[in-house]
Amino acid sequence: MKSYLVSKGDFLELIDGMIENGKEVVAPVKQENQANFKRIKSTKDILWSGPQTVISPKGFVFPQEEELIEYEVEDGIWVGSKVEAKSTVLLGIHPCDINGIALLDKVFAEKNLDENYLKKRESATIIGVECLTPCSPESFCYRKGSVLPWDGFDLFLTDVGDDFFVEVGSEAGKTLISGISRKTIQSDAKKLKKIREKRDNLFAKKQRKLKPKLEELPKLLKENYDSPIWDERGAKCFGCGSCNMVCPTCYCFDVRDCVEINLKKGSRSRFWDGCMLTDFTRIASGEIFREERGARLRHRTNRKDFYLFEKWGRTFCTGCGRCGKACLTKIVDPLDIENELYGRKGRR
């Protein structure tokens, strides 16, 4: 991977110039006692490190609500698909969320190419930033091997003092900084290595531990399909879906039609959905397939660290910790669940 040095001042100037020229730049900004991704007017608004944003930035490539089709019924029937995207820079994206998007990239390009996603994704420039301190007490990215991006970024910045150490993930990224980038020399790489060692030590000390080995999670969950902990935790579940909504890797959606009141026009849209919701498990005939909340919780956890882990060879929980924070009854945190499953296995 190519890397460069860019002075912070030059970089911010570059971005501010883009904003002035009308480019949509989205970055984390403070919101009450937390944060959120918003379109920014100046790089001064950016919150470079914690507190974490309430939801992940996935909505900018996979919106909460997205129109897919429009139709009109007058003398005949006209149907038009809607595949739209705005060129957007997603700036200040943390590794957990870059990895979330990298996983969505796999999912939405599997077999059926999801045009709506891909178009938005292609129009997004992702500029990540390394976390040098944990963003929240809930996060456990270090335990999920997610303190650095796996894939899916154009540029990745690390604060090394007056400069950003910039790793380039795409041609577009390289071009973007071509006017301000300097070559790195060996001492820069050494400096970066030191910073990362320090970061590793800090995260290892501060973040909650994952007792089972990461690569053993699929097996652990497989063996514990019938564990009582699903129902124990499920009993405290609202089925509120907060854990699904905030997650960078939850990608389920529902598709619904809305007819306009003139009965001549209508649209078909997709909306974020979630496996913890009753609506999600109810099918057209009215039957509910996964009635028990414990079973839904098991499904959610298995989707992160068993089914999709096995299928794609990579955990589908990047350890952002958002679900653990969002869940008011504190039952959903995957690390907590996995540690409890591991601990209950008498033989260990």
Partner: protein, 248 residues
Amino acid sequence: MEKPKVAFFEFTCCEGCQLTVLSLGDKLLDLFESVDVVNFREASSYRGQDYEIAFIEGSISTSKDIDRIREIRKKAKICVALGSCAHIAGVNAIKNFHNQLEVKKRVYGEKAWAFDSILAQPIDAVIKVDYVIPGCPIDKKEFLCVAASISNGVRPFIPEYSVCVECKMKGNVCVYHKPNPIVCMGPITRAGCGAACPSVGNACEGCRGLVSDPNLEAYEGVLEEHGISADDKMRFYRMYNGLVGGVK
């Protein structure tokens, strides 16, 4: 296709839901074009008696209401409860939890005995209701979608999921995570309002009624954790949901 004939009726309520319909702007004209509105007190003095779809606002709170709403049910093919007063008796039911003689006196004074007043009930306590448009007041967009679906002969979509879904979609900081949390009924309240109240810094008061399977035990655990007394808890439930099953 002949236009369906639609009528609006009101029982005990503020008629705010009908006013919401009336304030639809351009869409109101579209509504009038696609359906034949034969009865809509807020909009016209014409009173048609021939209708297929009845939108009914308000709670049942007098014995005369019972006869009147049964008549409506006989005539209408489809009855839709409009807003929380019709749906769950809403704020009208607050009186149910007080001494009825005192309540009557407080409202009607010395002549209280002359007034016909019974416990407030949602309309489905008396008639079969086909669809519900929840909320206090109703949401314009949802009304239009439901009205269009019904006119088109399609089952309308009303979320089963809770307000938390829409609140998270908006990226709101959870009311319970703020430095001074207030009681929010979001986790057990049916969505559809776009998390209107939490999005402007308030808490959800549950005007859309509870989700179909609320976890009240878990909810009470959360309230307890946040130092809410049993009395305060009841006040929250009774604001809109005093009559909803499971709430005790």
